[in-house]
Symmetry: C2
């Protein structure tokens, strides 16, 4: 039994936005599993802003993807051949499968998932790294208290939408920053945010200040750049800024724009702290159970933006950086 595996490999380190020529599309037989391994038919792949960082050379929180390697990505799929105890054909798993239609992986790399409890894409969104990032970033690093004002940027993105809803569950006033009236209406009308500010509508400071009459106690930053600077100017005493990402800066070919208003941290005795979700791996299970409960009670909604066709990967990925995606961006392989 041989399966044709379709893969996207990193062909060149992108300068600015990833181009078609930065990828090599390869068809190759899927490698049969060895002892302790399984062969997975990948069904859905998670496309995340962090992937842009993994394409760059140099030290970061995980090693970069090497040139010629299959592009790193999280995925979910069905085991179609198992040579490992405890995993059978037909079991569903999530794993760092990479951008390919088949993945041969060791069992220690797998997490079993139950497609009867939630649709598969949810395991790449709220019940996956996206949800974990929102949960631990907001609760462990942001430490919101009831009645405080929480602002989140990239609010219509996968992490941002989850951050805002968790902050509402915790009794905070929640303000989202997103691009365009449709996304802003969604945040307020569908997700229950108290307000949303459209960063594309012109000056951000004035509407954000109006939406946060008592200032910003917690700012969850997914974007960096001017938006981070504007929020820094509005923080309260002892505010907490969570640095989760900086999507506005990932494709820079010029140096990153540092936050010119960082001295607001001094004036306000505030802190700015970075987070990487992998640090919380020992508590993923607890968080997933709590979030599944919120979902079951209708307090937490996921929105997935599913694009069909593995072969669309190079252009689909770019939706993350143009602000075109709306909800968790997922690639359906088949």
């Amino acid at each position: 039994m041989s399966h044709e595996n379709r893969q996207f490999r990193l062909a060149a380190r992108p300068v600015g936005l990833p181009k078609a020529s930065d990828w090599e599309y390869v068809k190759t037989p899927a490698r049969p599993p060895e002892e302790g391994e399984v062969l997975i038919a990948v069904e859905y792949l998670s496309l995340d802003p962090a992937m842009r960082g993994w394409m760059n050379e140099g030290k970061s929180y995980i090693p970069p993807v090497k040139l010629g390697e299959v592009m790193r990505a999280l995925g979910v799929g069905k085991i179609i051949e198992s040579r490992a105890e405890g995993f059978a054909s037909g079991d569903y798993v999530s794993a760092a499968t990479g951008i390919q239609s088949f993945a041969t992986l060791k069992v220690k790399e797998l997490t079993k998932i139950d497609p009867k409890l939630a649709p598969l894409p949810v395991y790449l969104n709220i019940l996956g790294m996206t949800g974990m990032t929102a949960y631990f970033g907001l609760l462990d690093v942001g430490e919101p208290k009831e009645g405080e004002t929480v602002v989140v940027s990239g609010a219509a993105g996968a992490v941002g939408a989850t951050v805002g809803q968790i902050a509402k569950i915790k009794g905070c006033r929640v303000v989202g920053i997103a691009g365009g009236p449709e996304k802003c209406a969604f945040l307020v009308n569908e997700l229950g945010f108290d307000a949303a500010v459209d960063y594309k509508a012109g000056d951000l400071r004035k509407p954000l200040k109006e939406a946060c009459p008592n200032g910003i106690d917690v700012y969850f930053d997914n974007v960096g750049g001017e938006i981070l600077d504007t929020c820094l100017a509005l923080i309260t005493l002892h505010a907490r800024i969570v640095i989760c990402g900086a999507i506005s800066q990932y494709n820079n070919t010029t140096p990153v724009k540092g936050p010119a208003n960082y001295l607001s941290l001094l004036v306000n005795r505030a802190r700015m702290q970075g987070m990487v979700v992998f640090d919380y791996a020992d508590r993923y299970g607890l968080a997933a159970r709590e979030m599944a409960g919120w979902m079951a009670h209708g307090k937490l909604k996921g929105k997935e933006d599913i694009v069909e066709g593995l072969e669309t990967f190079p252009e689909t990925l770019l939706k993350l950086f143009s602000g075109d995606n709306f909800g968790k961006l997922i690639l359906k392989v088949a």
Copy 2:
């Protein structure tokens, strides 16, 4: 009995470095104390980088000095007339006297000091706000652990020199960043720093990296700008950056330079946190006792840079910003 009070009042809000014309030098009779007040003959005045911020308009951690007001400053002096219980002529006190030779103040603004326990200038240095800033900034915000590497900028300045010595007492490897070989030699030879790096000697990154072979666990920032950025690039996992000041940016007429390497906070799950010493007022007494003990045992040394003559204030203040001062800058009034 009338005393001629010499005062420097803020005449204009400085643009860039404060100029002579930003001050008004006034001779006026000292105001006699009313009930609950004392009249103080000011002997020494503390000149601090923070004063530059107090001259600017706009919201900060304390209100700006108003135009026409005596310039705010901490001082020590002798009570020469008292109409307040518990304070007698001849008592020594520290207080926010302002840049003047006589100050008439309410007793709630005074702290009694003992000139037999330590020379008066020490109450403006290690036993004053300078020492408190170093103590609480390093220990409460920086949270250094034994064996960690602590880097401090402005290391030959009053706060920096104290930070480094406290970090040594706590069992850390201590690296100071200072300007010029004389200051660097002083840090290593006189204060026991493990290494010192001269930021005026060219590229900072290479020698700093060599001085910190295991990276920077705690960075105590007094200067901002390029030095903050260089340190950000060298921090370790879970590092802590204390934002105490940004002397390189205080006289900017262009926007503050934000730290372009701030995403190192994300990669390293590190935090950057501002501090203002006034928040720790309820623990000043404890800190002063502990530091007095360290001084008595020769573990903590103060260095004061005392300039004589109240009338030299405008030009003496500028020593802080040119890097010309060496130790705690103090103005002797008489």
